[in-house]
């Protein structure tokens, strides 16, 4: 698995376009939110900015990059080559997705640490970490499922838009309007409960027991994403 991950990491840094769109751009957007945090905190809260950081990096740095990578490796039959070796399917997927997942996690962590230094530390860092991990797991599952219906890297630019933009829209909606109105709907939409977790973890003021309830819909979406991945993911191009 590490051999595949090494190869992917080398390619990531050799392909400047991927590096720009998947990593520089989310960092730039996040940096803008952090820099203007007082303005955005007035509109929502500091937790809203944290949620936007998590979902922007998650949607573009992780989800879109993962779909593009998987579609590209399948289209040129590299996945088939890997399956001709001794490594198992989970090792192949793990190796392909490890670099983008680790980089996205490092990005989110780094940006949130800077944000914490600039604007003040989160109320519950452990809960925040749980929310970030759950969001990343969900987006990896969605990436595998989306890759199943994505024929090429170019096609990924279209197929990733609904979930990528949808995640950021959900984070913005809940971050700007609060979690109280339409609470059930906001908790059930994908990413909704995870957004509320981030808000609670950063802003505080909500009992831990109340926040822990949010783990149920969050992990339910991880489960749904994993099942969609198992159903839709393909190893070879359609004939």
């Amino acid at each position: 698995m590490l051999a595949i991950a090494y190869g992917e990491l080398v390619q990531l840094f050799r392909n400047r376009l991927v590096l720009l769109t998947s990593f520089i751009m989310p960092i730039a957007v996040s940096a803008f939110f952090v820099h203007r945090h007082e303005v955005f905190a007035d509109a929502g809260s500091l937790g809203y900015i944290a949620a936007i950081v998590v979902f922007t990096v998650g949607a573009f740095g992780l989800y879109t990059s993962a779909v593009t990578t998987l579609a590209s490796r399948r289209q040129n039959l590299f996945l088939k080559r890997l399956r001709s070796t001794a490594i198992g399917d989970s090792g192949i997927l793990g190796g392909l997705l490890l670099p983008v997942t680790v980089l996205a996690t490092v990005q989110v962590t780094g940006i949130l640490i800077v944000f914490g230094v600039v604007a003040g530390a989160p109320a519950d860092p452990v809960l925040l970490a749980v929310a970030v991990v759950a969001t990343i797991a969900m987006l990896v599952g969605f990436a595998l499922a989306t890759a199943g219906v994505t024929n090429s890297p170019e096609h990924a630019q279209v197929t990733t838009l609904p979930i990528a933009l949808g995640m950021i829209a959900v984070a913005s909606w809940i971050g700007l309007t609060g979690a109280e109105d339409l609470q059930l709907v906001k908790r059930l939409v994908p990413g909704g409960a995870a957004t509320e977790l981030v808000l609670n973890a950063w802003d505080g003021g909500v009992a831990l027991s109340e926040s822990l309830i949010l783990l149920a819909p969050t992990f339910a979406w991880v489960f749904v994403a994993a099942n969609l991945a198992a159903k839709f993911f393909r190893w070879e191009p359609r004939r």
Binding site: I4, V10, K80, R81, R83, S84, T85
Partner: protein, 299 residues
């Protein structure tokens, strides 16, 4: 020196493969022994690659059993370290170099080897630091072969390995295969270049429309068909063609073709006639039936 024994390396029993409505392979049974060079030949769409893809663990059959080294081909952890695969079509990571690709794929085979040795084996030493995206089609095919033979596997499956290769690269590839065989490697091949199979295969399975048309050694496959004598005569012919035991066919290009099971005797008769009548035979060729003729006889 190639040695074979009766230890089964591949066992295929009653294999059926179905794609939707299309029955690609029907009740196919064959066995490949250790050290053997087995060629799976056939017409386009005969089911060769589909059969190989089951052996390689890329396809699940509708019915039948397939064992490689006595194990399921889907048990990658057990089977693949002993098995090199050169797919008919497969890709590499375009931004990695030749040496990086061999190292990564080689590592994943769980066999040990020296990357430089393998790169040199396929004649890509000068391209070792070149990105895969900058290789020609033939060079990519050689890289493909390099990853298949990495670590000298006990079994190598070659699906049309020389397609797209120039003559020199083909010769180098077959030299490498010959060296592998000397170390005891079992080879399974599909190819459209029949002379490659005719020169090297211990046994051939000839497929047509998903079933075995015939199976046997080259001698067994070609032995049932007559040998061929072809020749031309100076125009206009000064005499008739001597009466041969078989019908002499005049071909569209004006040459003559004799199909016979007694090539030597009939050739002697023809040469005697030519000598007696002072006729120079033009483009005289005589030989046993080639695999091409067996192939044509399928349809």
């Amino acid at each position: 020196m190639h040695t074979t024994d009766d230890t089964p390396v591949i066992d295929v029993e009653g294999l059926d493969l179905v794609y939707g409505e299309f029955h690609a392979v029907k009740d196919l049974t064959f066995h490949v022994r250790r050290g053997e060079f087995y060629a799976l030949l056939g017409t386009n769409g005969a089911g060769k690659t589909s059969t190989l893809e089951v052996i390689e663990g890329h396809r699940r059959p509708a019915s039948g059993t397939v064992r490689v080294f006595g194990h399921s081909p889907w048990d990658r952890n057990t089977v693949r370290p002993r098995m090199g695969i050169m797919l008919q079509e497969s890709g590499f990571s375009p931004d990695l170099t030749v040496a990086e690709s061999v190292r990564i794929i080689g590592t994943l085979t769980r066999r040990d080897d020296d990357v430089d040795r393998v790169v040199d084996l396929v004649g890509l030493t000068r391209k070792a630091r070149t990105k895969v995206s900058q290789l020609s089609g033939g060079e990519k095919r050689r890289l493909d072969f390099a990853t298949a033979v990495y670590g000298t596997p006990e079994l190598i499956v070659l699906d049309e390995p020389t397609t797209g290769l120039d003559i020199q690269s083909r010769d180098e590839l077959w030299d490498a295969v010959d060296r592998l065989r000397e170390s005891g490697t079992t080879v399974v091949l599909t190819t459209h270049y029949l002379e490659e199979a005719q020169q090297r295969a211990d046994r051939i399975g000839l497929m047509h429309q998903g079933v075995f048309h015939r199976e046997g050694t080259v001698a067994e496959l070609t032995g049932a068909l007559p040998g061929v004598i072809t020749f031309g005569l100076p125009a206009p012919p000064s005499a008739g063609v001597p009466a041969l035991p078989l019908h002499v066919e005049r071909q569209a290009d004006g040459t003559f073709r004799v199909e016979t099971h007694r090539v030597q005797k009939d050739l002697h008769t023809l040469l005697g006639w030519a000598e007696d009548h002072g006729v120079d035979l033009i483009g005289l060729e005589a030989g046993p039936t080639r695999l091409d003729d067996v192939f044509r006889a399928i349809n």
